[in-house]
Symmetry: D2
Subunit: 336 residues, 4 copies
Amino acid sequence: MKHSVDLSKYQIRTDLAIESIKDIKNISKEKIEENIKITNVVVDDKVSSLINKKKGNYITIEFDDVTDSSNYEKVKKVFVRELNNLLNLLKIDKKASCLIIGLGNSKSTPDSLGPLTINNIIVTNHLFELDELSDEYRRVSVLVPGVMGQTGLETSDVISSIVDKFKPDFIILIDALASQSIERVNKTIQMTDTGIHPGSGIGNSRKEISYETLNIPCIAIGVPTVVDAITIVSDTINYMHKHYTYSKLNINNPLNKLMAYSPNYLKEKIELNKKDKETLLGIVGTLEEEEIKQLLFEVLSPIGYNMMVTPKEVDFLIEKLSNLIGNGLNEALHNI
Amino acid sequence: MKHSVDLSKYQIRTDLAIESIKDIKNISKEKIEENIKITNVVVDDKVSSLINKKKGNYITIEFDDVTDSSNYEKVKKVFVRELNNLLNLLKIDKKASCLIIGLGNSKSTPDSLGPLTINNIIVTNHLFELDELSDEYRRVSVLVPGVMGQTGLETSDVISSIVDKFKPDFIILIDALASQSIERVNKTIQMTDTGIHPGSGIGNSRKEISYETLNIPCIAIGVPTVVDAITIVSDTINYMHKHYTYSKLNINNPLNKLMAYSPNYLKEKIELNKKDKETLLGIVGTLEEEEIKQLLFEVLSPIGYNMMVTPKEVDFLIEKLSNLIGNGLNEALHNI
Amino acid sequence: MKHSVDLSKYQIRTDLAIESIKDIKNISKEKIEENIKITNVVVDDKVSSLINKKKGNYITIEFDDVTDSSNYEKVKKVFVRELNNLLNLLKIDKKASCLIIGLGNSKSTPDSLGPLTINNIIVTNHLFELDELSDEYRRVSVLVPGVMGQTGLETSDVISSIVDKFKPDFIILIDALASQSIERVNKTIQMTDTGIHPGSGIGNSRKEISYETLNIPCIAIGVPTVVDAITIVSDTINYMHKHYTYSKLNINNPLNKLMAYSPNYLKEKIELNKKDKETLLGIVGTLEEEEIKQLLFEVLSPIGYNMMVTPKEVDFLIEKLSNLIGNGLNEALHNI
Amino acid sequence: MKHSVDLSKYQIRTDLAIESIKDIKNISKEKIEENIKITNVVVDDKVSSLINKKKGNYITIEFDDVTDSSNYEKVKKVFVRELNNLLNLLKIDKKASCLIIGLGNSKSTPDSLGPLTINNIIVTNHLFELDELSDEYRRVSVLVPGVMGQTGLETSDVISSIVDKFKPDFIILIDALASQSIERVNKTIQMTDTGIHPGSGIGNSRKEISYETLNIPCIAIGVPTVVDAITIVSDTINYMHKHYTYSKLNINNPLNKLMAYSPNYLKEKIELNKKDKETLLGIVGTLEEEEIKQLLFEVLSPIGYNMMVTPKEVDFLIEKLSNLIGNGLNEALHNI
């Protein structure tokens, strides 16, 4: 079986950086605080060429559940601190003016993270003219450019025209992302100073939104809110492999018989081997991860490839996350 | 009693042109079709200096009720025809590209006419790159710039930066207006080629959105959706005068005793005289309309002057009107 | 001029009790805490017959601005305390189950207070079956019955059928009210144990929602969110009178010349006299308040009597108030 | 590998009847009109015992795309006709009063089909008291009971209490369903006279909403708007099998090399054999469909089993479908 599929069409809007670099441990620093995992990755020129990721800083905050109010506060605290660190690293002045941009489609729930976040921002730019604000506040303005399918306008061009006119000192972009892993959906916030590539504009440098195109620092903040059908199937194939090996090893473990649905198998460190995978999954078991994804792309295309996977509670989760990011931005940007 | 109030603060965002010129009959043409009144006013240089209205064409469509579906269709038909006439008058080519701008605050119901209208527009601009459209379609893109209180950005600057970047051949602005008369709220559509003055930017030419500032034709379409408290009181004072005179004249009319609440008094032509007004209303009855408004401004300011008057069904009416204007624009702009 | 108008048609859905009883000082207790005025009125049988108000407890909380977050917290604290007092007065047990009912039309902003409040309630009733909750929680369920114009069903019948089936120990009704005074709109919360009369069902005991009809305690919580056009005009006539007298008395006060729009006139205690009113307002100035309202009803009916007056920021204010009441109910009902 | 999983927990809210009976061809009648497939199934006592489906009529309308306006009209026409047929079959009188119930959670997009449909219904019940309607209209009222997680109240009990009080002659329930097949999501409308089993109330006859529990005809109308993660993986495994066999057979077909992603494989009739499946998929290839689902349930449970799959355009599709069903109900129920 040969796959000559042009994979570039299959690439997802914005990958989580952490997914590309999980094996390059020596460039990333990890810490865990109260069940929140923070990963800092610095991609320099050398690493950049290896992993097809832009040079820059990538911060990833992974957590379990923001619907719990105590956990919400903890995640927000980490978010504010990490954002402040990034602002310092970029030498952004306390008085530098900021334009916050909510990307995505406000009419599609999983894509509405950006526009919803904007609703929570304390906007001050126009009040500076009136000299009405105390020193604690920074100049902040916001923009919700919509998506090209709604507006007919290329989003990056909308942004660059507004930046040219209003000349903010830096911008922050908020966007919903596609994840390449089921487990991270709505449970990760990524921050980076590399900007972003909106829509399908991959490989098209004209569409990039970044320091290179706008000449001001561009911080991008993203949350993976969907995975696509290919990811869920290919992840499940890997889980099946692990589950199979785990079951073989623990077939006589009496604890296991007590516990429904082997809830442990994912948490255990299990040595996997190729032979098991082939026994369990035949030819499919012999394929590399990328080959499986190519195969799935071919198989799923005819039935309409635009399926996405979201948790049932997506409306509620997006609301919480946009609230957390909006309030976190207020704390980090204003001195309140 | 003297009133030295600075009345400029009291001016309303965008007056209906028809209200300023109701007495200058010789420059306006009126026709009535199936209970819809269409008024065409051409303000030339001479008239412009008299009535403080910009030189240009003003078309006003007055109707009773767009919640009735048969009336909705009639009003839409008139709207499409009048808009087409205006496009022809301005020599706008069938293939000229159009940017439609929905002004106002989507989060405040009576101010959401512009953003809601945009939801109904058939957007085509991005599809022209793909060469996917038949000849019936014109290039149309849309923009919802928000209001300065939400975005921190001066709305007219947002618009001019987008116009500079995307270079549409003409723009159409949709906005909710304040009316100076109770009777016209949600029952009038005004079209003009003079553009508009958003927000409180009166007397400030920098904020104008017009041919003069953008160098392309600027059509403004507005619906009065609110009246303020001053208008409702001063209108009511006039109604009291008319009602009083009517009652005096008809005090022995037996028909009137049968009809509750003298529903006729507004429809009759009654000659009003100053003496009656003074008898009925004392000192207040001796004031000119503008003096009454100044007095009311002084009286109402301390209790919070930001009251607005809307019909109870405002949410429903705004939805219908934005639907009518959106679909009307689609018909007029595209050849469908 | 005689007015034989049937005034019953003009009556407003639910008056604020405080407006009917402002002159009966000896039955009401007032206190002011940090600019929040709390009025407790106990209407007994004797008073009830005098003022056409049902026997029961009426608590009114008057405040300035809930969009200020510090004031929001103060008002919420007062609300929780007063509600707890009322629950104690009614001897409602800490474990008694509660059905909270959000009255009004979720699709009409000023009428959506009830449904929006429900969105903020911590609902627990169904979790009791699972025995999953700690002792701090009470059984709480909610209902949004809609309005008859939407559902086709008489609202009080919907409620009584649900109460019969689920047998809550008491109910709390949340509703937007019409005010008879401009100054109180969105600045008052009223609580009472007398239940309510939804819709236009005045004088129709079958539609009442109360202890008498349901056999369980019925607490009603209301906020005036609209005034009608008649109220705004008749209030303004009174303000004109006061403003006129104030201006006469202070005509040479140099302070007044410095201050624009005599902002003080409403705060001063001024002795008003009938003569001034007649001089200022002619015949209208000779009428009693109720006569003026009758006249205005007659005058305004032909132009469509369904105008309502709301502040420009009504969408934002209703959101804040529904949030305050929802969270206040959670604190008072659950032990959290 | 043995699976002792209790499968009852895995059952989905409301299956599409057509999926259970696809192999029992002799009880179903199929026709195709302008690319719309209509399947009528009558389940009698004998069939009922075989397929675990309630005795009754099941009508399924399958279509491609309701966002195309010409197709929208065709599907609506079929929907109205089939609903009228069902009403006739049930001998429901032209004047019989109807309560339409929108099930599901209005705050979760894929579950909001029921509440959104209700927004489009012409409600008349309350107008009959006023004798204001012409003979073309039937008494129609509506109810949006919410879901137990929001209200704390068992939905079927809310419905039965309203039915007891208002005594409609029959009810129509609208609900979003889970599909057991990716291909049918948002592309199928099912109608049945067997009522439904809301929420997790499987095996609990008290929760059923049907003629048996309410003593009036209960028509249920559903659209599958989600598939769960297990379905998407198990469907994909079947597609891989088919794709593998197709590829083997067509390996030298030059046409295939021209066409990207073998778009044809799903449309061809291909004879599948077990040997191929085992070669391709190892042990997994030897399992029966139900065994694979059991395995997937075990594998996916630890990572949170509440994933659902929806098309990216779900918000837009649900709006169109609720519009179609709402307007279709108006045409079928009223004589308009």
